[in-house]
């Protein structure tokens, strides 16, 4: 856990939609070591999605973002992204072809390798029997699993996840959280996971950050509760209270 995977320094982002538009992110510093599962909490509009979009290279920004020492200048397969939207899989490709596609784009032509690597990841999310299905034939939870498999197939340095389970029902969400945590352990993934759900961040994160409305980091806590976390784990209540109170102070409604 010593190698620094992601280094963000003095990151400022302003969409400049009007002359007096406020900064979404202002002078944000963040360092994420290899193998860390970082959850980012915050009220709507706090800039958490903007932060991962900047890391993904989908937005221009002021400041520096480095991944493994290389400055981020645009999107790339070393920073795969899983979105909230179920429809993120390409509907014109089968599940298997969806998972294979990032490899094909990056010049992997060997049929054997394409198949075995994609099947390995599909097996990891328990969907190997659905390889030949089209996305519209799957449930929301299954689609998100395929998106995770696709996100992992290039062995990215960082997996960026923007509220991937937010639109799922509670039971499916719990199941996917457990699966994601298991995969993270197996593959020693570095994950940045956006959520607005405190419970989710405590279940998943090794470290939890809370952002406030001005795009600043308000809380940055290590989550030492042993995994798997459940509401009766020791320390869960205190952790939950800490973030719940902080969320109340961020200007979030309700």
């Amino acid at each position: 856990m010593n190698h620094v995977r992601l280094q963000v320094e003095r990151l400022t982002k302003n969409y400049r939609t009007s002359p007096d538009s406020a900064d979404i992110l202002s002078n944000l510093d963040l360092s994420v070591p290899e193998g860390e599962f970082l959850c980012i909490l915050g009220p709507s509009g706090c800039g958490k999605t903007t932060l991962v979009r900047c890391i993904a290279g989908l937005e221009d920004y002021e400041g520096t973002i480095r991944v493994d020492g290389n400055t981020v200048t645009g999107p790339g397969p070393d920073r795969m992204m899983v979105f909230q939207d179920y429809n993120q899989l390409f509907p014109w490709k089968t599940v298997l072809k969806n998972v294979q596609y990032p490899m094909k784009v990056n010049g992997i032509r060997d049929k054997q390798e394409l198949r075995s690597r994609a099947e390995e990841k599909l097996k990891m999310v328990n969907l190997q029997e659905y390889a030949d299905y089209y996305p519209h034939q799957l449930s929301g939870g299954m689609k998100q699993r395929v998106a995770i498999a696709r996100g992992l197939v290039m062995n990215p340095g960082i997996l960026l996840m923007d509220e991937p389970f937010a639109a799922l029902d509670a039971m499916t969400r719990n199941k996917l959280q457990a699966e994601l945590r298991r995969i993270k352990e197996e593959e020693n993934l570095t994950v940045i996971f956006i959520t607005h759900n405190i419970q989710e961040s405590i279940v998943l994160g090794d470290r939890i950050i809370m952002m406030d409305k001005g795009g600043r980091i308000k809380l940055d806590e290590r989550n030492t509760i042993p995994k798997p976390v459940s509401p009766d784990s020791e320390g869960y209540g205190a952790m939950w209270r800490l973030f719940e109170d902080a969320l109340g102070d961020t200007g979030a409604e309700g």
Partner: protein, 260 residues
């Protein structure tokens, strides 16, 4: 349920057609109308058979279709090339958008005299008019599809490492295929109309004659049954293209992908 309703509709439509045909036949034989300009169903049928057996109707049709397909392919390819340039910059996009809106207003037939001056009398004029009929509606649907595309697909493509032309073929084309097929459908309909009109206006080219010319010849001979026979052929071609080309393509793509 849906199947039963469809069958019911189909039966009603069929019965209606049969009634129209019978009514037509009765009307034609009643002596109330001139049989020359209002030929009976049977004589239209004979004209149809004679057209194919003695008058090489199939050759006229194939010649028309060959011009049409050449024009369609050129028009669609050009529309793709120009529309792809529009993805490079907003300025190019706004200029091409304007050009499309202006040119789309010009009926192909109105261009025939100018095209004859430019290209002489030959296949190139017909192809020019067909291309004109196809390229603007096709460009509109490509630009509409491309600008209405779900941004997430484009961002994913970029994350995977796609750029430029590969992003267009890998993401933009499949993601907007439904709109593109409607564009081709519209382009085909326009081109087909324009083609028949132009064949009537200047008849044969050096290398052949099409179905428009066939109708025109029948008019010169006051052969109304022959004219109706040609119309039936045109309708049949439209049905074949819709059901055996467009709908099959849609079933194998956007319908299979759940994108409709």
């Amino acid at each position: 349920m849906i199947e039963r309703q469809t069958l019911k509709n189909l039966r009603a439509q069929l019965i209606f057609l049969i009634i129209v045909i019978i009514g037509w036949q009765v009307m034609s034989n009643s002596g109330m109308v001139n049989q020359l300009t209002f030929p009976s169903v049977t004589s239209i049928g004979h004209a149809l058979v004679r057209g194919f057996t003695q008058e090489n109707m199939a050759e006229y049709v194939l010649y028309s279709l060959s011009l049409l397909i050449r024009g369609l392919v050129i028009g669609i390819l050009l529309a793709f090339v120009f529309s792809s340039f529009c993805m490079i910059s907003r300025t190019v996009y706004s200029i091409y958008n304007m050009v499309t809106s202006i040119c789309d207003l010009i009926p192909g037939v109105a261009l025939i005299p100018i095209a004859m001056g430019w290209f002489g009398i030959g296949e190139s004029v017909i192809i020019f008019i067909v291309v004109h009929g196809v390229i603007w509606p096709m460009s509109r649907s490509i630009l509409g599809g491309f600008s209405g595309i779900n941004r997430m697909y484009v961002e994913e493509g970029k994350i995977f490492g796609l750029k430029g032309a590969r992003l267009i073929t890998g993401v933009y084309l499949p993601a907007t295929l439904g709109t593109l097929i409607s564009g081709i459908r519209m382009g085909w309909a326009r081109a087909w109309r324009g083609l028949i009109a132009i064949e009537m206006i200047f008849g044969t080219t050096g290398s052949g004659a099409g179905i428009g010319w066939y109708i025109f010849m029948k008019r010169t001979n006051l052969n109304y049954a022959g004219m109706f026979a040609a119309l039936i052929v045109i309708i049949l071609i439209g049905i074949i293209v819709e059901y055996l080309v467009f709908q099959v393509i849609e079933r194998k793509t956007v319908v299979k992908w759940g994108m409709v």
